[in-house]
Structure formats: structure tokens, C-alpha cells
């Protein structure tokens, strides 16, 4: 039986694709499907799962820690996401200017993104140290007698983590920079002829032109902030008094510390639904503020 060229190409393509396809199926698709099943089970990983219907979801609703971590995560997202996005746009616009040494500035802004998460967490632990930290020393230098205890104070621990998150905006800045390079020069020239101020040019030309990039970063930001884990896990362990205990940390604790894999799976699916809902909301709203040049 001879195969046609198209068939041969198809099989060749599949053969080359198969390592990824098999890996994706085994390590992603099957675990996702199984986690949905486990979310309806009592499952400790060590014993076979026992189906218990909506038991985990019902427990979740009545679990006060679940609501605490959900609230903390939403507050963190509401603080970190706008701050990160605005800061990244401002920095990108500044770095888009034709000034001497701009490449060096771009490198400096991007550098923190290359630092491993654990290393940057350790670094910030020292920066936030209430006695020896650079931040409090600077505040004392500015005349503040009792600067905040940052990570030891429930009021300041969350803002401290938000502040730290702004340090890693390098990746986002690079994406904005790429978007800014694509803004047509003639639009700025037209705005100049119309007598627009720099701020008006940003508002009426730059932002609409890079709105697809903003939309992309918004979606990534929603997903990223709702899954915050590494920095608080290392720096605060969720404390003090659960003030920085986030959704993914509680999920992790349930899965690998309390060995409640079924409960953790239910939490993961609720998290997925929340992310899906917010992403859908952002996508729906995008038709009002995202402008594609091809349209």
C-alpha cells in the first residue's frame, strides 16, 4: 500500500510532534482530568480515592480559611496588578525615549527578571528587615522615627509584597517596549500638528495603539497575581496572622502538608473557574477599549 505525499507528510509531522503530544497528554491532560475527578473524592494520595460527591466543595464554602485566603488573594491582585501595569507602561514609555544610554537603562530594568525567585525573596527579606534593612534605614534617614515593621506587621506585610512584585516588571516592560516600537510615527506627527501636549499624545495615541499589548499583559497579570505563591511562601509563610496567606499557598498546604488531595483539587478547580471568569470579563470588556490596527 503506497501512501500519498500528504499522508506521508502527515505521518512525518505526527512523528515529530509525538514527543510533545505524548508529554502534553501524560503530564497535562490526564492530570487535569484526574484532578476534576479527585475534587469529588476523599483522596490522600496514599489511599485510593473514595467518591463523596460535592463534599469537598461544600466543605470549602464553610471553611473560614478558604475565605481568608481568597480575600487576601483578591486584595493582592487589586493592589499588585494595577501598580505593576501602570509602572510598566510608564517605565516603557520612558525607555522608549531617544536618550543616551537607553540600552543600559533597559538592561537594568530587565535584570531583576533574571534573578531566581528564591534569591530575590531572600534579598527582599533583608531589604525589609526592620532593624538592618536598607528601606527602614532610608526612612530613618528621612526623619521617620519608627518606620514600619514590614513583614512582621499584618498591616504592612501585604503592601510589602506588592512593593516587591513591582521589582519584577522587567518582562512586562519589554513587551510594552515592543508594542511602543510599532506605534506609527505619523500619528504623533499629526498630533503635533494639532498641538497635542505630550500627555494628550500618550492618552490619545500611545495607549490606544498599544491597547492589544495592555490587554495581553492584563490577562497574564490576572493569572499571575491570582496564583501568587513563591515570594510569600519563602518570605512570610503566610503570616503574620495569615495576613499574607494566599489561595495557592493554602491549596499547596492542603495537597502536600495536610494530604487532602481531593480538597486541594476542588480548590484548584474553583481557582480555575475564578481565573476563567475574570479572563472572560476582561475579554468581553476589551471590545470597548482595545483597538487593533488591522480592523
Amino acid at each position: 500500500m503506497s501512501l500519498s505525499t500528504d499522508q506521508r507528510n502527515f505521518y512525518k509531522g505526527m512523528a515529530f510532534l509525538s514527543p510533545w503530544l505524548i508529554g502534553f497528554t501524560v503530564f497535562t491532560v490526564i492530570p487535569i482530568v484526574l484532578s476534576l475527578y479527585y475534587s469529588f473524592c476523599d483522596y490522600s494520595l496514599l489511599q485510593s480515592p473514595v467518591y463523596e460527591g460535592l463534599g469537598n466543595y461544600s466543605t470549602l464554602v464553610h471553611d473560614p480559611i478558604f475565605w481568608t485566603v481568597l480575600k487576601n488573594t483578591v486584595i493582592y491582585a487589586l493592589m499588585a496588578l494595577p501598580l505593576g501595569m501602570v509602572l510598566a507602561i510608564v517605565v516603557a514609555i520612558l525607555l522608549n525615549a531617544k536618550i543616551a544610554g537607553v540600552t543600559i537603562y533597559r538592561t537594568v530594568i530587565f535584570l531583576p527578571s533574571l534573578v531566581p525567585a528564591v534569591a530575590s525573596a531572600m534579598l527582599w527579606l533583608w531589604l525589609f528587615n526592620s532593624k538592618l534593612g536598607l528601606i527602614n534605614n532610608a526612612l530613618r534617614g528621612l526623619g521617620m522615627a519608627n518606620p514600619p515593621g514590614w513583614l512582621s506587621n499584618p498591616t504592612w506585610a501585604m503592601p510589602a509584597l506588592v512593593l516587591m512584585s513591582a521589582w519584577g516588571i522587567g518582562n512586562t516592560v519589554i513587551i510594552y517596549l515592543a508594542g511602543l516600537q510599532d506605534v506609527p510615527r505619523e500619528l504623533y506627527e499629526a498630533a503635533d500638528i494639532d498641538g497635542a501636549t505630550p500627555l494628550r499624545k500618550i492618552w490619545h495615541v500611545t495607549l490606544p495603539c498599544i491597547s492589544p499589548v495592555i490587554f495581553f499583559n492584563l490577562i497574564m497579570g490576572i493569572i499571575g497575581t491570582l496564583q501568587v505563591f513563591g515570594a510569600p511562601f519563602i518570605m512570610t509563610g503566610g503570616g503574620p496572622a495569615r495576613s499574607t496567606y494566599f489561595y495557592t499557598m493554602y491549596l499547596y498546604d492542603n495537597a502536600f502538608v495536610n494530604l487532602k488531595m481531593g480538597y486541594a483539587s476542588a480548590m484548584a478547580w474553583v481557582q480555575l473557574l475564578i481565573v476563567l471568569l475574570l479572563t472572560a470579563l476582561a475579554a468581553w470588556s476589551s471590545k470597548h477599549w482595545v483597538h487593533y490596527s488591522g480592523k
Binding site: L45, L46, Q47, V50, S130, N146, S152, P240, R242, N258
Partner: protein, 464 residues
Amino acid sequence: MASRFAHFVKGLRYLMALLLIVPAVLLLAVGPRAGGALPSDRVIVDYWEKWTGEEEALLRQIVDLFNNTLGKEKGIYVRCLSTSSVNQKTLISTAAGVPPDIAGLWDTNVAQFAALDALEPLDDLAAEYGITADTYKPVFWQTCRYDNKLYALVSTPYDVALHYNKKIFHDNADRLRRAGLDPDRAPQTIAELDAYAAALDQIGPNGQIKLAGYLPLEPGWYINYTCLWFDGSWWDDTAKRFTFTSPAVVASFDWIQSYSRKLGKSAVSDFRSGLGNFDSPQNAFLAGTVAMVQQGTFLANFIHNLKPSMDGQWAAAPFPSVRPGLNNVTYCNTDVFVIPRGAVHKREAFEFIAFVNRQENMEKLCNMHCKISPLAKVSDDFLNHHKNPYIRLFESLAQSPNAHAAAPVPILPEVGEELSNMVQRIALLEISPAAGLADIQPRLQKKYDDFQARQVRRRVMQTK
């Protein structure tokens, strides 16, 4: 021209393929083997241990000793692998059916792992090797058991005592004497501890703590068991009930909160957040910023290694209790050996565990780690040549009827998290201990009852 270029590209392709294939084939043929250095005529026992650095190096001496003596004789070779998050990796490998033969866990894992059928019971093997309750100090034998079965054996244990800085006591002798306290001895009751702490505290003009006599939260590693020194316990093992709201437990947490009330919640949290890491010379006790700490036997090792100038300038004493007559109270903690369910070389694994638990080997390991011996019988050599100059005190504390271990509760991690959160809240004066304990009592009891109900349901299903 085009044809020559096509030939060149084709040749380049072959060259690239050759460059990839030849090293791969060479690596497969003569490259390193995972078990390359392992003796082929012995049973390989895989042993995962949490320790790293110096502690791991010291343990390897015992492993090598086994491999070169009894292991050689019996055809067993222990392959020791230092493993971070060993409890989680043991759990996952056990679930996957490929566990190590031995895992070095913490005592707090025993009840949880045993209740979830993750561990092999060791009663038969222990009996076969003559290891019985009499072999151990009672507190450690109990630690290794859950639901009337033996699931672990001790590797290196410690107990806690009050460590005090004699130099700070000496430097502040006048202040202590003015407060009616003897600068040449440790406090013996909680009230005395408070009086010593108050006399030693040095507070700055803005209320900031410069030197703390004592702080329950520094380092606070055993804070959840403070009730032991108040003659209480938050777990009734007979009734299988939590007793968080019992007067002794509430009193112990009231005492913890009293330090925030006395010194100021912000002053305490600011002071603590400015302290260095435990295993560094900036450790509060080593740096001389806290005069008294509740800590384990091993602290002597850290003092000697990180601040040798402090050798001889500190002392240890039983941690004070709430009332005279309640003597030698301590909390005992231990690392344990377990054989995960499904381990392939169970008997050979136990051979190694039993070897470590021989008196001479156990004493060697425990001395190297600067810990006490879990065994009932302790040699004079161990006591006379131990790294900790107060080893006799620590040994006697562990032998005391008032020596206690972690509660055998299978949901211990959840209990620990709830208590830790509550302690932070009471230290920040957000809640009274009575209210906090009343809040967690029903929640944790329900979690425990639900856990047991699920286990019963599971067993019923398995028998059907």
C-alpha cells in the same frame, strides 16, 4: 553551482547528525551509570535523609561504618541520599509505589503517615531484633508508635531546656539582686522567669527593645507545647479529644500574651523582625540580644561552631514550670527512621536501622549531632565526652516522667497551622487566648472527627 550548494547543505546535515549521534552513543556506551559505584553482589538499600551539610556528613560516617562492617558481612549496601522536603518526596514516591527502603522523617510525621497507611509496621522486625519498649526512654518509644503499633525507630532526638547567658546575668548582677534574684542560678518557676526577664530587659527611649531578658516567641519553636510547663495538654489521648479550652492551656497562652502586653506588641514584633537567622552568629541568643531562650540540646553545637567565644558563658537548666513541684518538664523531639509502605528491601532496611540503634552507634551519631541518646541505657563515655557540657541535664530531663512528645494526632500539621496563626494573633493582641482557643477547639475537633470517620468508612469499604 546550485548542485554544489545542495551537496554542501546535505553534507552539513550529515555532519550535524553525526555530531549529535556520536556523543549520544558514546554517553550511552561508556557514560556514567547511576549505580556504577555500587557493589553488584549486595542488596542496595535506598535511604533518603533530610539532613544536609555537616549533619549529613556525620551521618555518612555511620552509613559507611555499616557498609564496611555488618553490611559487608550480610551483603547489604546502604545508599544514602540527602533529600530536601523528604516527607513530601517520601509521600509521593510511596503513592507511586516506588518508595525508598528507609526514609528519615520527623516524629510529627509518624501519626499522619501511619494513619494513612504510608508506613510499614515494624513490631515483628523489632521483636526479632530484640528491640522492645525497655530499649528506649519511654517518651521516645511512645513517639514511634501510633494506634498500638510501632511505625518508626529513633534516629537522633533532643529535648528542650532553658539556656541562659551567664555573662548577661553577671553583667546585670546588681539589677538582678535589687529585684531579689540570684544572678548565679537560673529561674525555677514561671513567675521567677518573668522576674528575671523584667530585670534584664533593656528598653530604649522610644520603647524599642535593646535587650530582652526572655521572649516566649524567640525562637518560639516549641510554643505550641508551652502548656506542658503549665501542667496541661491540649490533647487527651484516651478520649481522643482536643482540650484547648482547659484552664492550664488557656493560662499558658495568657502567659505568652503577657509579654506583648508588658513590652508592647509593636516593640516585640519589631525587635523580632530585626533578629538574624538561627544558624548564624546573628542568632539572638548568640548575639546577646536575648538573655534566655528555650532551646534543644543541639544549641551547644551552634554556639561552639558559630561563636566559640561564648563557650563557657552560657548554662542550661530545666525550663521553669508554673508551680514548684512540677519538676523536669520537657518537650522531646526526634528524627525517625521509617520504612515506607511498599519498600522492596524491608528486612535489609531494618538491618541498618537496628545497626544504628545499637548503643555504640547511636551514641556516636547522637554525640556527633550534639543530641541526647534515645536509649534507656547510656554509657559513661557518652556522658563524659559529649559535645554538650550539660548533657547529663538533658539526659535526665528525657528520663523524667514529665517528658512529653508531639501529640499523636494524624491531623497534626493542621493543628500546628491553626495554633501558629492563633499565637501570632494573641502576640499582636488581636484576640484573647481564651477566645482564640475557643475558636479553634470545635474546628479542629471536627477536622479530627471527620478524618477518623473517613478512615472508618474506607476500612469498611475495603472489607466489603
